[in-house]
């Protein structure tokens, strides 16, 4: 409830990662998302990744939205 922002993992370093939010690079903890890998997009809340964004589902949704007329 919850300002969570999507960012791209540019480097993983143990349980931490460097995440780029549209060019702003911040340190993010992966303690809640240990399966995250470099190149994944994750949803970050208070400095912690909480979910890996599913690119396939996002793409599918955006396609459906384009067809709304």
């Amino acid at each position: 409830m919850c300002l969570a922002v999507p960012g791209k993992i540019v480097r993983v370093d143990g349980e931490n990662a460097k995440v780029s939010f549209g060019g702003v690079v911040k340190d993010v903890s992966l303690v809640l998302c240990p399966e995250a890998r470099e190149g994944d997009y994750c949803s970050v809340h208070v400095g912690m990744a909480q979910a890996i964004i599913d690119p396939v589902e996002a793409e599918r949704v955006l396609e459906v939205l384009k067809e709304l007329e």
């Binding site: 409830m1 919850c2 300002l3 922002v5 780029s20 939010f21 549209g22 060019g23 702003v24 690079v25 911040k26 809340h45 208070v46």
Partner: protein, 342 residues
């Protein structure tokens, strides 16, 4: 470029001491070896400067307490010169003379002071203003924040005095460039945030652009968008003039890095401080000329019309359209801006 090497550091301890503020030998050395070298028009042997220029009727003052003192794109010294020069420009005055007062904290490195003074000298040169008088005080360690600077400026009017009362219904509102760089440069420096493309403060001298503008057009009111950002500048003018402005938020340029950082900090670029951007009001017949004047300057290349004055209104109002087209009010931010968590 003026280069002041700092001879003081070699003989003293390398930091500001209480002696430097006491008015004795240490003070005199500081003035003669650092300040008078940087500011050639300074008259250190008298209590004040006597000015022979007539028509010095525009007068302003500003104090600078920025932290950190050296930030991406500038420093407190440069800011102190540009800030007061720009205030004079916003009054459609050609800046001529500055006074400079330092309040230094005991222990502040003299090398940093020299760097700041050097920066002020270069800025003053660029703005073609002379620093003619000044003062230095030193406070005990812990009682100051390194360095505070006050600059006071005098200028000659270029045109009829501008102001909110001269703004008219139908006037176009023009912004000189993209917003948010200074505040976000400070924010990233303070919080150790890196961006792929570093955000640099936009702090700059506006006097040249404003003089060119005043020569070719008749700006009714000008305001630099410093503390409180563009929103504060517009709201204050609306309030003072009793007018209703409508702004096209999509037309307001914001660079990607500032937008991204504002996004994650939960801040609105309209509320972020700028130090090299101004907004002004002109009659529609001057709009294209004003834009072409600004576009001929590097620092004005992104100048754009962002809105217009719609109507008179008892308590002033600034609005814009939301994504879905409804009208919403732009307000001055309240108090300290803190990043949200939720």
């Amino acid at each position: 470029m003026i280069n002041t090497e700092c001879p003081i550091g070699r003989r003293d301890s390398g930091v500001v001491t209480l002696a430097h503020g006491s008015g004795g030998r240490a003070t005199n050395r500081l003035i003669k070896e650092m300040f008078a070298v940087a500011f050639p028009y300074l008259q250190p042997d008298t209590d004040g400067a006597v000015l022979v220029s007539p028509h010095l009727s525009v007068f302003t003052t500003d104090s600078f307490v920025v932290d950190p003192v050296f930030f991406p794109g500038g420093d407190i010294g440069k800011l102190a010169v540009y800030g007061t020069v720009n205030d004079l420009s916003m009054m459609l005055a050609s800046p001529r003379y500055l006074s400079v007062a330092f309040i230094l904290e005991e222990g502040f490195p003299l090398a940093d002071l020299s760097r700041i003074v050097n920066s002020m000298a270069n800025a003053a040169n660029e703005c073609r203003v002379a620093v003619v008088t000044g003062d230095t005080k030193v406070v005990e360690r812990g009682r100051g924040h390194g360095i505070y600077i006050n600059t006071t400026g005098l200028g000659c009017p270029l045109a009829e005095s501008p102001g909110p009362s001269r703004v008219c219904v139908g006037d176009k509102i023009i912004l000189s460039g993209d917003i948010g760089r200074h505040g976000m440069a400070i924010m990233s420096a303070r919080n150790g945030i890196q961006t792929e493309v570093p955000i640099l403060s936009d702090c700059a001298n506006l006097s040249e652009m404003v003089e060119a503008l005043a020569y070719r057009t008749k700006p009714h009111c000008l305001r630099d968008a410093t503390r409180g950002g563009l929103a504060a500048a517009l709201c204050e003018i609306a309030e003072s003039s009793g007018l209703y402005f409508i702004v096209n938020e999509e037309a307001i340029p914001v660079c990607d890095e500032v937008r991204g950082l504002c996004e994650i900090m939960g801040m609105d670029p309209l509320h972020v401080a700028n130090e090299g951007r101004f907004v002004f009001f002109v009659d529609p017949k001057d709009e294209q000329k004003a834009l072409s004047v600004l576009h001929s300057f590097e620092n004005g290349k992104d100048a754009v019309t962002i809105g217009e004055v719609k109507a008179k209104r008892a308590s002033g109002l600034v609005t814009t359209h939301t994504l879905l087209g409804s009208e919403k009010i732009i307000q001055i931010p309240e108090g300290e801006i803190l990043p949200r968590i939720c």
